[in-house]
């Protein structure tokens, strides 16, 4: 496991390769421009990876404890029991988590800032988490309100809080999405959707 072979693979990484423009490969809209990482970015990336490694190891340690105490690791005849594989996997994850922390703590590439740098923008993360929270609220409302009403609540949160939309056609389109989906799936395709307990 060569730590120094790590390369960026997602858009979250500031060194993410941007595809060449061309007729077959036009640039995607709103692509972020790459900015040279600062010393603070490098340190933050290292700390995040060290924390991630330790977190993986700690959670895995807890899972190992639960596997050993709650599940039989071996069966009556010495065969592998229900806890055997979870314990084995938790052990591997402890090792991998610690390895990640060590590599990012002491690895030469991480210390010299040659490893890929992660970017964290507080406002962007807050926006994403806002939508996630709206989605979590939506999931909680599905059972009492049913699909259409709960979906309208989600759409309203997106329109008013997340996007602060002013375009009337867009607002109407979003508000019409839930009934349109209800008609398509529930009525046309006979796919059962949550009905809502409050309406009974």
């Amino acid at each position: 496991m060569a730590p120094n072979t790590e390369q960026p693979t997602t858009a979250a990484v500031s060194q993410d390769p941007v595809p060449d423009s061309g007729p077959d490969n036009p640039p995607a809209a709103d692509q972020p421009e790459s900015v040279a990482p600062t010393a603070g970015d490098i340190l933050r990336t290292r700390l995040v990876h060290i924390a991630l490694g330790l977190l993986v190891a700690a959670v895995s340690g807890w899972l190992l404890y639960r596997s050993r105490t709650e599940l039989p690791v071996y069966g009556e005849n010495g065969q592998a029991g229900a806890g055997y594989l979870p314990a084995l996997l938790a052990l591997c994850l402890i090792g991998l988590g610690l390895a990640l922390a060590v590599v990012w703590g002491f690895g030469p590439r991480a210390r010299n800032g040659e490893a890929p740098i992660l970017t964290f923008d507080r406002h962007k993360i807050a926006r994403a988490l806002g939508v996630w929270l709206a989605l979590a609220l939506y999931a909680a409302l599905l059972e009492p309100l049913g699909f259409t009403a709960a979906s309208e609540v989600l759409m309203l949160i997106i329109i008013v809080v997340v996007e602060r939309m002013r375009s009337i056609p867009m607002i109407i389109t979003l508000l019409l999405l839930p009934p349109a989906f209800y008609f398509l799936f529930q009525e046309l395709l006979a796919v059962q959707l949550p009905f809502g307990t409050l309406w009974y």
Binding site: M1, A2, P3, T5, E6, Q7, P8, T9, A12, V13, P19, D24, N25, D30, V48, V56, L63, R66, L71, P72, G75, Q79, A80, A82, G83, P86, L89, A90, C92, L93, L96, G97, L100, V103, L118, F120, I125, R127, A128, V131, W132, L135, A136, Y138, A139, L142, E143, S151, L154, I158, M170, L174, L177, F181, F185, L189, V191, Q192, L193, P194
Partner: protein
């Protein structure tokens, strides 16, 4: 020659106006229903089965072939356009298909998926026609040790989807394997990490996990930046929406390779289209001149898994028709349909009911043609969907994701899991942890665990059973070789690159 005569007579029976009409209807309905995530081919065929059973056996089974192929293609559409894998076999298509969509090449990806499906479907049907007896004999010799060796090999292949970050790839894979252990242990009946939740007794629902990690995670990353523009660039010219001659030439090798690999893996009951699609993807990645672009929008990265996913059907029909062993959920439903029609799959099926079997095989080929003819013209329409402003598109994706997840078990709990895995997918993207190893390990984990534990029961807990059986010994040898290549290959490549840099 018997096979050729049988196939020709099958075509003669299958190509009637009525059969062709229902084949086209089946393809259309399969595509439409298959687009909905969660409703993969097995669920789609189940829903539409009552329609098909109203006809005579040949017509009904021909319609089901159309539904099956249509559903498979429908699944790849959402994978490419929205990063929503409708079923486990479509996970690999997301890797490059969605990247192509982000680069404004969704039409090309959808087009190549249809063409690859057609080419590989043809390979699958040819294999089914001429190799059925030979391949069936090999498949019978696959017991638990061979399966576990195959799964160990497959799990090591999963790591090759990790990009260059091997450590994070391994962490992702092991998390996927651990998540797969949640639920009831099939050997002892013990509940593992269910927390007393009855909904978790059957394990975590795959659709909730995959849609959460892929689709919701992607939406959360995309909406970080507020924009009123469409997120994706879609070319306005029709010519640019379809795959060019160069695209087809570039991916032809991957299509043929995927077709052959998919067919042989399809023959093995239980291995299924997921293993077929990602083994084929890995082979394409390792053998392509364009390997650096895999995972970043390589057209071969769409052609290979889609081809394997499709030709797997031909392979899966061999154990189903010759031995009555369904290799997948869809196979089990097709088996039910055959029995419903009074046909008993087995060695004598080809002799006793050749009037039905050969039309089924012929209809699989016709299904491929119908799918290509119907779906290629629809490609620009699907690709243009991405022209929608993202502010409107992402709420739609969220609703489709919730409907798709809920519709599998009609469970709000699964929707909750979807939200949780959505956050996990977002965090993984932010921390640059590859998601594909987690999702694929989640699919392969239970198959691997069951076959390993069965093997150890057979051998009185002796791991030597893997070396005593030739097929498993070869597979274990290949796995060891692969592990060496994975750990040492990277270092040797780095040394080679450093030497080249030094020379420059």
């Amino acid at each position: 020659m018997d096979a050729i005569n049988g196939l020709l007579s099958g075509f003669a029976t299958a190509i009637t106006p009525t059969n062709v009409l229902w084949l086209v209807v089946g393809c259309l309905m399969g595509t439409l229903v298959g687009i909905l995530p969660g409703l993969g081919p097995p669920a789609t065929i189940s829903i539409l089965l009552p329609l098909a059973t109203g006809f005579d056996p040949a017509t009904g089974l021909i319609m089901m072939a159309g539904i099956y192929y249509g559903a498979k293609y429908g699944g790849s559409t959402t994978s490419i356009l929205m990063n929503i894998p409708g079923e486990s076999a479509s996970v690999v298509t997301c890797l490059d298909g969605y990247e192509m969509a982000k680069q404004g090449r969704a039409g090309k990806a959808l087009g190549i998926a249809a063409i690859a499906s057609f080419v590989a479907g043809t390979i699958g049907v040819i294999g089914l026609t001429f190799l059925a007896p030979i391949v069936a004999d090999i498949a019978v010799s696959f017991g638990p040790p061979e399966y576990s060796a195959l799964m160990i090999f497959a799990l090591l292949l999963v790591i090759m989807l990790a990009g260059d970050s091997m450590l994070k790839g391994f962490i992702s894979m092991f998390i996927g394997l651990f998540l797969a252990t949640i639920g009831t242990d099939l050997f002892s009946g013990e509940q593992r990490f269910t927390g007393g939740q009855i909904e978790l007794a059957g394990g975590i629902e795959f659709i909730a996990l995959s849609i959460g990690i892929f689709a919701i995670g992607e939406v959360l990353v995309n909406i970080e930046q507020k924009t009123q523009k469409p997120l994706f660039t879609v070319p306005s010219k029709l010519r640019e929406l379809m795959p060019s001659g160069k695209d087809i030439r570039d991916s032809s090798g991957s299509m043929v390779q995927g077709g052959i690999v998919g067919f042989f893996i399809g023959v093995l009951p239980g291995a299924g289209s997921t293993v077929a699609s990602f083994v084929s993807y890995i082979i394409a990645k390792r053998t392509s001149k364009n390997r650096k672009n895999f995972g970043k929008g390589a057209i071969e990265g769409v052609a290979a898994p889609e081809a394997a996913n499709n030709s797997e059907t031909g392979g899966a029909m061999i154990p189903l028709l010759t031995m009555g062993i369904p290799g997948s959920g869809t196979g089990a439903i097709l088996l039910g349909a055959l029995v419903l029609y009074g046909l008993n799959p087995g060695p004598l099926l080809f002799h006793e009911h050749s009037d039905v079997v050969w039309p089924i095989i012929a209809s699989m080929y016709l299904g491929n043609i119908a799918l290509l003819v119907m779906n290629l013209p629809m490609v620009p329409f699907f690709a243009k969907l991405l022209n929608t402003p993202y502010q409107v598109l992402y709420p739609g994706i969220l609703l489709v994701a919730v409907i798709g997840t809920f519709s599998v078990n009609f469970s709000i709990f699964d929707v909750g899991l979807l939200i949780v895995f959505g956050l996990l997918g977002y965090v993984m993207r932010k921390l640059d942890i590859p998601a594909a190893p987690l999702v694929l390990a989640f699919v392969l984990g239970p198959i691997a665990e069951n076959s390993i534990r069965q093997s150890l029961l057979l051998s009185d807990n002796s791991p030597m059973i893997y070396l005593q059986r030739p097929i498993s010994a070869v597979l274990i040898g290949l796995a060891v070789l692969l592990l060496l290549v994975l750990t040492l290959g990277g270092k040797s490549r780095k040394v080679r690159e450093q030497m080249i840099d030094a020379e420059v």
